[in-house]
């Protein structure tokens, strides 16, 4: 299918926001502001209550940026390995630790500055084996930065009950007192409430954008989506981020109406499922250019940044519909307790990437349903050595999909360790898979 294509008009807005974000973190202290660091999954609305000059640095996107600039990544990885850190640990974390150990901070254009800007505190969550321990050791490498991790291991959203939610809410309450103590600032509940509204808005709007990619031709392809979804991983509780997602939604909706696609030639629609090998995004370009294959998204790109209904109450079906915002749910948030409860419940219930850790079954249904809903012809799975959580269940999912007649290709790699990727072999896998699917090279048509 020949397709009309147009560059995304709001592309630069996203790019600029991201540049500003890393710079703000770097320069926060010059303006008397506060810096904090933590996982992209941290409850990032909480530190907003400390003031409007509070700047985060989330570790996974930072680790991905390091990986993208492979030479810097190699230096980080080798520096930290020399300190006895095992090579099979989370790739993002090793880049992050290595960056601290080298005392170099990477900006999104690939330039580095010294020293690595030390946060005033670390605030994170713990769901995989790594998150909290990542920041615990980072804090030690930095000479004892105060660190607080919130345990969210309360099971999947559809099995939540009050006690499970309360466990998380209580920790969030404690975290606020702790932040007040270590920063000496008085906490502002109004700012928290604003941030909590913005968070749901950003995440549910991203989900609505992802749904638009069900259209044929697909208005977006995943490689570009990586530059768009990332705002939800760096600062989703910032009302400005929510606004940018609304702008993007309007533009993508208009592309769908006008039949504008992402690729000039779309003959094959596929999904992926893990963080990509950041140093080798050319895999996506290869698929596009050689085969007219469009990557529609993944439980990663959609599920990490979006709020979704997820498993139904009986645990029998996965529902890829955007989660309700407080306004849509008819909820008015008026105080700290309500705000904490909302953000805890929204994340625990609707954050897709917090569901499939709790059984192979959830991930099987989640993936299967995505393939159906997005009209994908196949899935190309990255067996990602860089993240034990995202690689969890992948082989069981593969088995399930194959049994359900879904074409599956797999390639091995590492999202954030460029030394752990075999480019030629990956292209071979792709070529053989395409051949087996009867997809001709565009040049051979």
């Amino acid at each position: 299918m020949e397709v009309k294509v147009r560059p995304l008009e709001c592309w630069n807005d996203f790019k600029k926001y991201r540049e500003r974000y890393y710079k703000n973190y770097l320069e926060a202290k010059d303006k008397g502001g506060i810096r904090w660091a933590g996982s992209a999954w941290a409850f990032d609305a909480i530190p907003h209550g400390l003031g409007e000059d509070v700047y985060p640095l989330t570790g996974e996107p930072y680790g991905a940026t390091c990986a993208f600039f492979h030479d810097f990544s190699r230096q980080c990885l080798e520096t930290i390995e020399r300190r006895g850190v095992a090579r099979d640990l989370c790739g993002y974390m090793r880049n992050y630790w290595g960056s601290i150990a080298q005392n170099k901070y990477l900006l999104p254009d690939g330039t580095t500055v010294e020293p690595f800007p030390k946060p005033d505190f670390n605030f994170t969550i713990h769901i995989c084996c790594t998150h909290a321990k990542w920041y615990h050791y980072a804090a030690e490498l930095e000479g004892g930065v105060p660190t607080y991790a919130v345990d969210i291991s309360v099971g999947p959203g559809y099995l939540l009950d009050d006690k499970r939610i309360n466990y998380v809410v209580k920790q969030l309450n404690d975290a606020i007192s702790w932040m007040e103590k270590i920063t000496g600032r008085e906490y502002d509940d109004e700012l928290l409430i604003k941030a909590v509204y913005a968070e749901a808005d950003s995440m549910s709007t991203w989900a609505r954008i992802c749904k638009l990619n069900q259209a044929k031709p697909a208005p977006l392809e995943e490689k570009s989506m990586f530059s768009l979804y990332v705002l939800n991983l760096i600062n989703r509780s910032d009302p400005e981020v929510a606004k940018l997602y609304h702008k993007l939604y309007d533009e993508v909706e208009s592309r769908v109406k006008r039949g504008i696609g992402a690729l000039t030639y779309e003959q094959f629609r596929f999904l992926t499922d893990n963080p990509p090998p950041w140093a080798f995004l050319k895999v996506y370009r290869y698929l596009e250019k050689e085969y007219g294959a469009v990557s529609l998204g993944a439980i990663y790109t959609f599920g990490l940044a979006g709020g979704w209904l997820g498993m139904d109450e009986k645990g029998e079906k996965w529902i890829w519909e955007p989660a309700p915002t407080p306004e849509e749910a008819g909820v008015e948030i008026t105080n700290r307790e309500e705000a904490l409860r909302w953000t805890a419940e929204y994340n625990l219930r609707y954050r897709a990437s917090w569901q499939h850790e709790y059984s192979h079954w959830i991930r099987k249904l989640e993936t299967y349903q995505m393939i159906k809903d997005w009209n994908a012809d196949a899935i190309i799975m990255h067996i990602n050595r860089g993240c034990e959580l995202w690689n969890l269940s992948t082989l069981e999912v593969r088995d399930y999909l194959v049994k359900n007649n879904i074409p599956v290709a797999t390639y091995e790699g590492n999202m954030a360790d460029p030394r752990d990727f075999d480019e030629a072999r990956t292209f071979n896998v792709i070529d053989s898979f395409m051949q087996s699917m009867g997809i001709e090279r565009i040049s051979e048509k």
């Binding site: 030690e140 466990y167 969890l392």
Partner: protein, 392 residues
Amino acid sequence: MGKKVEELPQLKQFREWFEKRHEYAKEWKRKNGGKVVGYYCTYCPEEILYAAGVLPVRILGSHEPESITRPYLHDMYCPFCHDTLAQGLQGRYDYLDGVTLAQSCLHMRQSYFSFVDRVPNIQWSYYMPFPHGVNNPHAAPYLRSELEKFKSAVEEWTGTTITNKELDGAIEVYNKNRQLMKEVFELRKSDNPPITGLHAMEMVVSSQIVDKKDHNEVLEALLEELKDAEVEREAGTRLILIGSEDDDRSFLELVEYGINYPATFVYEECCTGARYFWDEVRPNEDRLMALAERYVYRIPCPAKDWATGELIRRRFQHIERVIKDYNVQGAIITQMKFCDPHELDIPALRDLFDKHDVKHLTLELDITQPVGQFRTRVEAFLEALGEEDLFF
């Protein structure tokens, strides 16, 4: 002088239980007519199962090379989780009625779910969202609510009612087991520890797979015998073993019996060692709260040991006490390949040993591969430690 330690029947009994664990469980079932539940990870509140008349047995590997798990678990997950699943797939756990996991590392989780799905004899399974944040004050009350659900699920499945009386009975048996093993460990503080790390490992692992009542009887007899048993071996360098799941006999044999430089493990800081039994259940009118506190406040697995406001690791605090109390001279860190929770602690752990001037050796272990490859490194390590002694 009493009997030679190596000839004590109790130590032989532990070994036999360890080697014939499947036969033991089948025989137990035949005799008692009860159900047997396999548990993954030592955070499982075994007392609740035991109170319902169920025999909880820890699912362990067999240390044999295998490749049958590769279609289900990627090879970046630890060999232990592969090995345990392999046992199920090979039918070695064909007597299990159920299987449960108290949420621990992601590796165990993967193996558990595949075990539930793919081992045909499993009729009942229970995944418990055990808190990871055991260093925060809300973990114990939260766990209490999860224990309540677990208890109801066990009651429903077994058709029993677990009253305080049954819970008290189970707690008593389990606490006694913990006390007795601690008494045995106490003896290892002496200049000439009566038992080796190999004996201790067989003692602890056998306690994870047999009825604790049976185990207690043997432990009591062992303590009697050890009072005047004849210790034939030279203690040599006093070592601590640090690790996750270390039931690899050949490795302990190599270090303690197979090297020219004498060495003895005086403490095993692992989940097949002290971490399993060290802490007791403290009496509480609310029995489930008592259990919750025991499991939350036990020496934590690295998977659960991290900062919630304060930069402390409770496990490290415990290790520091052990170094002092057991006069530890060297540490062998057996790093299970791909085990993230433990790997994440290793840089800081080495710093800790350096701080206390305890020499350390880190070995990356794949429990399904022969340990002979470590001989040279262990030998060099023990030799260096032995030489140091000469100069002081």
